[in-house]
C-alpha cells in the first residue's frame, strides 16, 4: 500500500459529503473505470455560492480522500473562489500525496470544475428558455 499522510487516511476512512444531490444544479463526471478512477461531483448553487457539494467516487484510497477534501474545500465558496481550487492546493490540503497518485488530485479539481461548467451551461439555457417563453407569450 502506498504511504499516505494522516490527513489522507482520515478522509479515506471517514469521507465527508458522500452521495448524490437530487436535482443537482450541476453535475461533473471525470475519469473512467478503465483508467482506474472515476469521480462524479454534484453541486447545489444559491446566490452564486456552493451551498452543497456531494460526490461519488470509484477508485483508490487517494481518489476517495481527494474527493472528500475537495468537497469540503468547495462548500460555501463562490463559484469564482471554487474555480481556484487547483490540484496543487488539494494535495497540499491533504498534507501531500504519493507521486503516482497526483493524478487523483487533478481528477478532483476537474470534477468540481466540470460541475460548475454544467451549472453555468444549464443557467445559460434556462435564461434562453425564459427569454423564449417571454417572446412567445408576447
Amino acid at each position: 500500500m502506498p504511504v499516505y499522510s494522516e490527513k489522507v487516511m482520515e478522509h479515506f476512512m471517514n469521507p465527508h459529503n458522500v452521495g448524490e444531490i437530487e436535482n443537482a444544479d450541476g453535475i461533473g463526471e471525470v475519469g473512467n473505470p478503465v483508467c482506474g478512477d472515476m469521480m462524479t461531483f454534484y453541486i447545489k448553487v444559491d446566490d452564486n455560492r456552493l451551498s452543497d457539494v456531494k460526490f461519488q467516487t470509484f477508485g483508490c484510497g487517494a481518489a476517495i480522500a481527494v474527493s472528500s477534501i475537495v468537497s469540503e474545500m468547495a462548500k460555501g465558496k463562490t463559484l469564482e473562489e471554487a474555480r481556484k481550487i487547483t490540484p496543487a492546493l488539494v494535495a497540499e490540503e491533504l498534507e501531500g500525496l504519493p507521486k503516482n497518485k497526483y493524478h487523483c488530485s487533478n481528477l478532483g479539481a476537474q470534477a468540481l470544475n466540470k460541475a460548475i461548467d454544467d451549472y453555468l451551461k444549464k443557467l445559460g439555457k434556462e435564461a434562453k428558455t425564459r427569454r423564449r417563453k417571454k417572446d412567445e407569450g408576447a
Binding site: P15, E29, T57, F58, G59, N100
Partner: protein, 395 residues
C-alpha cells in the same frame, strides 16, 4: 485487534524449524564454502546437503540445482542464459501471456538483444492450451517458457502436455514453478521439462533464496561471472544460512505436502463458497478446480482493489490486489487482462492466499468484515449507482 495474514502468495511466514536450522549459520558457522579449511568444509558440506533436499523436493539430482537469490533471479537466469546459449540455432522464444514479470521482462530484454518473442494467449480461466503452444513453435524456436502455476489467479498449467510438444521439436522447455514447487507435487521427470525455477519464500523458507534446476547436460550462459560457485554459473559467496533454510523448508514441504494441501484447500473452498454467497456481483478468477490449494482470487464489481485492501488492513486482514491503483506503474494486472477480464472489473481484483498458519476462524472473520467494506465502497461508487439505476429502469 484480530489479525489475519492472507497474503501467502507474496511470501509465506518462515517455519520455526527452518529458523532453528538457519541459526547456527548466522552465528558461529560463518565459513566461506570455498575456503580450504575446517570452517569452509563445514559450510560446503551444509550447502551440499541443502542442495540434496531441494533436489529431492522436485525429483531431481543434487548436482542439477543452482542456488540463486530469488525466484525472479532463477527466471532471469533461465530465460536469458538459455536463450543466449542456444542462439546459434535460432532466436525465437515462446512464453505465455500470464508469465510473472521476471519472465515477461526478461523476454523483453531478449527482444532488445535481437530475439523474437511470441506470447501464447490463455483462456478465460487462465489456462494455456498445449496445442496453442505447439502451433507457435517454429524451426528457429530455441526456448519455450510456461509457468507451472499462476500465483495471482491460482491456475495450474498443463506442463506435461506442453512438454510433449516441445519434445517433438527438440525445443528447450523452462517452467517458472515458483508458485507451485513446495506447494503441490512437482517432479521434473514427470513434467518432462529442461529447466525449472523455484523460491523458498513460497514454502515457508526465508526470503532471498531460490534455485534454478537445470537438466544435466543443458547449456546455459553464466548469470554472474567471477567465481567457481554453483558450478561457475552463478558467482558470489553463497548465502549459507538462507540456503540451509531453503533446504530445510524443502524437506518439510516434501514430507507434509499432502496434509498441507488438504488443509489449505479446505480454507480456500470455505472462503470461495462463503464469499460467493454473501457478496453479489463477485467473480472467481482463475480455474474453478485446476487451481493452487491456497488461492482464492476474485473480482468484486463496481469498486477498486486498493480501497478494499486499506479497509481490510484497518481490520487487521492482509490480502492483495491486481488493480491498477495498487501497482506502482498504475496498470492493472496483465494476467486478468489476458484472461479477457475487462479493465473496470479487473480494478476490483482481490486475492486471498492461505498458508499453514491460517485457520477457519480467520476465514469466518474475513466473511464477517468484508461484506460491510464492499457495501460501504459500493455506496460511494458512481458505477454502482449507475448499475442500480439501470436495473430500476429495466424493470
Amino acid at each position: 485487534m484480530k489479525r489475519a495474514y492472507l497474503d501467502n502468495a507474496a511470501t509465506t511466514p518462515i517455519l520455526p524449524e527452518v529458523v532453528e536450522a538457519m541459526l547456527p549459520y548466522l552465528r558461529d558457522a560463518y565459513g566461506n564454502p570455498q575456503s580450504l579449511h575446517q570452517w569452509g568444509d563445514e559450510a560446503r558440506e551444509t550447502i551440499e546437503e541443502a542442495r540434496g533436499q531441494v533436489a529431492a523436493l522436485i525429483g531431481a539430482q543434487t548436482e542439477e540445482i543452482i542456488f540463486t537469490a530469488s525466484g525472479s533471479e532463477a527466471n532471469n537466469f533461465a530465460i536469458k542464459g538459455l536463450a543466449q546459449a542456444q542462439q546459434s540455432k535460432g532466436k525465437h522464444i515462446v512464453i505465455s501471456a500470464i508469465e510473472h514479470f521476471s519472465v515477461l521482462h526478461s523476454a523483453r530484454t531478449l527482444e532488445k538483444w535481437g530475439f523474437e518473442v511470441t506470447e501464447v494467449p490463455v483462456g478465460r480461466h487462465g489456462l494455456v492450451d498445449a496445442d496453442e503452444v505447439a502451433k507457435r513453435i517454429r524451426e528457429d524456436t530455441i526456448l519455450v517458457s510456461i509457468m507451472h502455476a499462476n500465483g495471482e489467479v491460482g491456475t495450474i498449467e498443463p506442463i506435461a502436455e506442453i512438454a510433449k510438444a516441445t519434445k517433438k521439436t527438440g525445443t528447450l522447455l523452462h517452467t517458472d514453478a515458483v508458485a507451485a514447487a513446495g506447494t503441490i507435487p512437482v517432479d521434473v521427470k514427470e513434467l518432462g521439462v529442461d529447466a525449472l525455477s523455484l523460491a523458498a519464500n513460497q514454502f515457508y523458507g526465508p526470503n532471498g533464496v531460490g534455485a534454478l534446476w537445470l537438466k544435466k547436460g543443458t547449456r546455459i550462459i553464466p548469470f554472474v561471472d567471477g567465481g567457481v560457485q554453483e558450478g561457475g554459473r552463478r558467482a558470489g559467496t553463497e548465502n549459507v544460512p538462507a540456503i540451509v533454510g531453503m533446504g530445510k523448508a524443502a524437506e518439510l514441504a516434501q514430507h507434509d505436502m499432502s496434509s498441507r494441501m488438504t488443509r489449505l484447500s479446505r480454507l480456500r473452498d470455505r472462503l470461495i463458497q462463503g464469499l460467493s454467497s454473501t457478496i453479489d456481483h463477485t467473480i472467481l478468477t482463475g480455474h474453478p478446480t485446476q487451481r493452487l490449494p491456497g488461492n482464492a482470487s476474485f473480482c468484486i464489481q463496481f469498486i477498486e482493489g486498493e480501497a478494499m485492501l486499506m479497509l481490510l488492513s484497518s481490520k487487521g486482514v492482509a490480502a492483495s490486489s491486481g488493480s491498477a491503483c495498487t501497482s506502482r506503474a498504475l496498470k492493472s494486472s496483465h494476467v486478468l487482462a489476458a484472461m479477457g477480464i475487462p479493465p473496470e472489473i479487473a480494478q476490483g481484483s482481490l486475492l486471498f492466499s492461505f498458508g499453514l498458519e491460517n485457520t477457519e476462524g480467520e476465514v469466518d472473520y474475513v466473511l464477517e468484515v468484508l461484506p460491510p467494506i464492499v457495501d460501504r465502497l459500493r455506496q460511494m461508487s458512481p458505477l454502482y449507482a449507475k448499475f442500480l439505476k439501470q436495473q430500476r429502469g429495466g424493470r
